[in-house]
C-alpha cells in the first residue's frame, strides 16, 4: 500500500525526485509531444513542409543581405548560416514554449497532480522532432554547396544532448518566474533578440574587434553553437575547450534552473 504525506516540510523535494517522477509520467510526455506536433501541423496547408521551408527562406534572405551588404568572407555561407539558425530556433522555441505550455496548462494543474517539469520536457522533445525535420533541408544545402561530411557527424548527437539539457535548464528557470509575473515571457523574448545578435550566427567570429571578443567568450550559446556547427560545416570535431565550455554551460543551466524550479513548483497551484 502506497502511503504519501503531503506537508510543506515533507514535500521540499529535490530536483532528482522531480526527474524521477518524469520517468513515471513518460507516457504523458510522449502524448504531449505528439499533441504539440499534431496541433502545429493540423490546420496549415503546407504542414510539415513549413518546418523545412521557413529556415530555408530566412537563410536565403540572410545570405543575400549579409554576403552583398557586409561582404563577409565566409565560404559556403548558406551552410554556416542555416546551421546557426536551426540551433538558435531550437533554443528560443523550446525555452519559450516550455514557459507557455506551463502557463496554458493551469486548467490541468488545478485538477490533477502532474510533475510540473513535464512541460519543459515535452517542449524539448517537440523541439528535437522539429529540429530533426529541419535537418533535411540542411542536408540538401550541404550537398549542393559541396560541403564535405565525414566521421565528425557522429559528434552531432552529443551536441544535441548538450543543447537539449541547456534549453531544459533555461526553460525551467524562465517558466518558474513566469508563473508569478505575467511580463516575464515578454521580457525574455526581448533578451532573446539581443542574445541572438551576440551569438555568431550570421557573422564570423573574427569581424568583432579584439577588445569585444570576451563578450562572445562569456556567451554559453557560442560554445554550444560551435559544437553543433563544427561537425556540419567544417567536418571537424570541436576543440576540447569548446566542448568543455558547452558542457559546463549545460550543467550550470540545469542545476540553476532545476533549483529555481523545484523550489517554487509546489506554489504554482496557488498562483496559476
Amino acid at each position: 500500500m502506497k502511503t504519501v504525506v503531503y506537508a510543506p516540510s515533507k514535500v521540499q523535494r529535490t530536483f532528482i525526485d522531480e526527474i524521477g517522477s518524469l520517468i513515471k509520467y513518460r507516457f504523458l510526455i510522449g502524448e504531449l509531444i505528439l499533441r504539440n506536433i499534431k496541433t502545429r501541423y493540423k490546420r496549415s496547408l503546407l504542414g510539415v513542409a513549413w518546418t523545412m521551408v521557413n529556415p530555408l527562406l530566412t537563410m536565403l534572405v540572410m545570405t543575400v543581405v549579409f554576403s552583398q551588404l557586409f561582404a563577409f568572407d565566409i565560404p559556403r555561407y548558406p551552410v554556416y548560416i542555416l546551421s546557426g539558425l536551426l540551433l538558435w530556433n531550437f533554443f528560443s522555441e523550446t525555452t519559450v514554449s516550455a514557459t507557455r505550455n506551463l502557463l496554458w496548462s493551469s486548467k490541468l494543474l488545478k485538477r490533477i497532480y502532474i510533475p510540473k517539469s513535464l512541460f519543459a520536457t515535452a517542449a524539448v522533445g517537440t523541439g528535437l522532432v522539429n529540429l530533426l525535420i529541419a535537418l533535411v533541408p540542411l542536408g540538401f544545402i550541404i550537398l549542393i554547396t559541396g560541403t564535405r561530411i565525414g566521421f565528425a557527424i557522429f559528434f552531432l548527437p552529443i551536441s544535441l544532448l548538450i543543447i537539449s539539457l541547456f534549453s531544459f535548464g533555461v526553460g525551467l528557470a524562465i517558466s518558474a518566474q513566469a508563473v508569478f509575473f505575467a511580463d516575464v515571457v515578454d521580457m525574455y523574448q526581448i533578451i532573446l533578440v539581443a542574445w541572438m545578435y551576440l551569438t555568431p550566427i550570421f557573422y564570423p567570429l573574427n569581424i568583432l574587434p579584439d577588445k569585444f571578443q570576451w563578450v562572445i567568450h562569456i556567451n554559453p550559446m557560442y560554445y554550444i553553437l560551435e559544437c553543433f556547427r563544427s561537425p556540419l560545416y567544417m567536418n571537424k570535431i570541436p576543440e576540447p575547450q569548446i566542448i568543455l565550455g558547452a558542457i559546463i554551460s549545460a550543467i550550470t543551466a540545469l542545476v540553476v534552473g532545476g533549483f529555481l524550479f523545484t523550489r517554487k513548483a509546489d506554489d504554482f497551484a496557488y498562483y496559476l
Partner: protein
C-alpha cells in the same frame, strides 16, 4: 501502543492534521515583474491573506463514503485538492494511504482539437497508463460512454453530455483506493446520472473510499454514511447524514427567510 498504531494504519484512508491553506495575494494585483520591482524599491508590496482552509483535522476510514456540504467558498473543493496533492498545504500534514483518482471537473483534462481516441490516450497517460493499456480498456470505455462512431472525430464536435460520459468512463475505470468527486454528478441526463451513481455504489461496496462534494443533498443521503459540513474554511459539523442534513437544510431556509425579511423592511 505499537499495536494500536498498526491497527490505525490498516483502517485509515485519509488523515488530515491541522491543514491550513493560505493564499497570499499581492494587494492591487501586482502581476507584472516591473510593478513588483518598482513597489519593492518603494517598500510598498503589501499582501492580502486569504485562508481557504483553517486548521482542518479529519480522519476518513477505509471504505467510508463521506459527503461534504457547505456554501460556495466554504473550502469544499480546496479540501479535495489537498487530498489529491494538487495543493500542498501551507501548514499541517495530509496523510493519504493508497492511490487517489480525482474526478474534479469532467472533461477539463481533454483537448478539444484532438479526437476522442487521442483524448483517451492523453487522459490515460495523465494517470500513468500507456497506449497499449488504454487500448485494452477501449471497448469497455466506449460501451460505458456510448459515443460510438464519434470516437475518431475531434472533441469540439461532441455534446457536453458526451464529453462528460467519456471523462467519467475513463476516470472511473481506474482502480483507485480513494475516489474524489466534485459536483460532477450534476451533469448529463437522468439515465447517465443513475449509471454514475450505481458505479459509485459498486466502488464503495468493493472497499473504495469515496469523498463527494455536492449540493445535491438527496444524493448524499443516498450515497454517504457520513457528512461533513464546512463553513468559512472550518468543519462546522461532522456526523450521520440523518443528523446533519436536516439541520443544514433548516439553516439554509432560515438564512433565506432572514434575507427576505431584511429585504422587506
Amino acid at each position: 501502543m505499537m499495536i494500536e498504531k498498526e491497527h490505525n494504519l490498516d483502517n485509515i484512508a485519509i488523515h488530515l492534521k491541522d491543514i491550513t491553506i493560505r493564499y497570499r495575494m499581492l494587494q492591487e494585483r501586482t502581476t507584472s515583474l516591473k510593478e513588483f520591482a518598482l513597489n519593492w524599491i518603494k517598500g510598498k508590496n503589501s499582501y492580502n491573506h486569504f485562508l481557504a482552509l483553517r486548521e482542518i483535522t479529519l480522519k476518513v476510514k477505509k471504505g467510508e463514503s463521506i459527503g461534504i456540504i457547505g456554501d460556495n467558498g466554504a473550502g469544499k473543493s480546496t479540501l479535495l485538492r489537498v487530498i489529491a496533492r494538487i495543493l500542498i498545504p501551507t501548514m499541517g500534514q495530509a496523510h493519504v494511504y493508497g492511490n487517489v483518482t480525482p474526478i474534479l471537473e469532467l472533461g477539463a483534462l481533454f483537448d478539444p482539437e484532438l479526437t476522442g481516441r487521442e483524448n483517451i490516450y492523453l487522459n490515460g497517460a495523465m494517470f500513468g497508463f500507456s497506449r497499449q493499456a488504454m487500448n485494452d480498456k477501449l471497448d469497455r470505455l466506449l460501451d460505458f460512454a456510448g459515443i460510438g462512431d464519434f470516437i475518431d472525430s475531434p472533441l469540439r464536435t461532441y455534446s457536453n453530455g458526451m464529453i462528460a460520459r467519456l471523462a467519467f468512463a475513463i476516470t472511473t475505470d481506474i482502480e483507485a483506493d480513494i475516489v474524489l468527486i466534485d459536483e460532477v454528478l450534476a451533469v448529463g441526463d437522468n439515465n447517465f446520472r443513475q449509471k454514475c451513481i450505481s458505479r459509485m455504489e459498486t466502488f464503495n461496496k468493493n472497499g473504495t473510499t469515496l469523498v463527494t462534494v455536492s449540493h445535491n443533498l438527496s444524493l448524499l443521503e443516498k450515497l454517504c454514511s457520513r457528512v461533513i459540513w464546512m463553513e468559512h474554511g472550518r468543519i462546522k459539523a461532522d456526523g450521520h447524514p440523518e443528523d446533519i442534513i436536516p439541520i443544514y437544510k433548516q439553516t439554509k431556509t432560515q438564512a433565506l427567510f432572514d434575507k427576505s425579511q431584511a429585504d422587506f423592511t
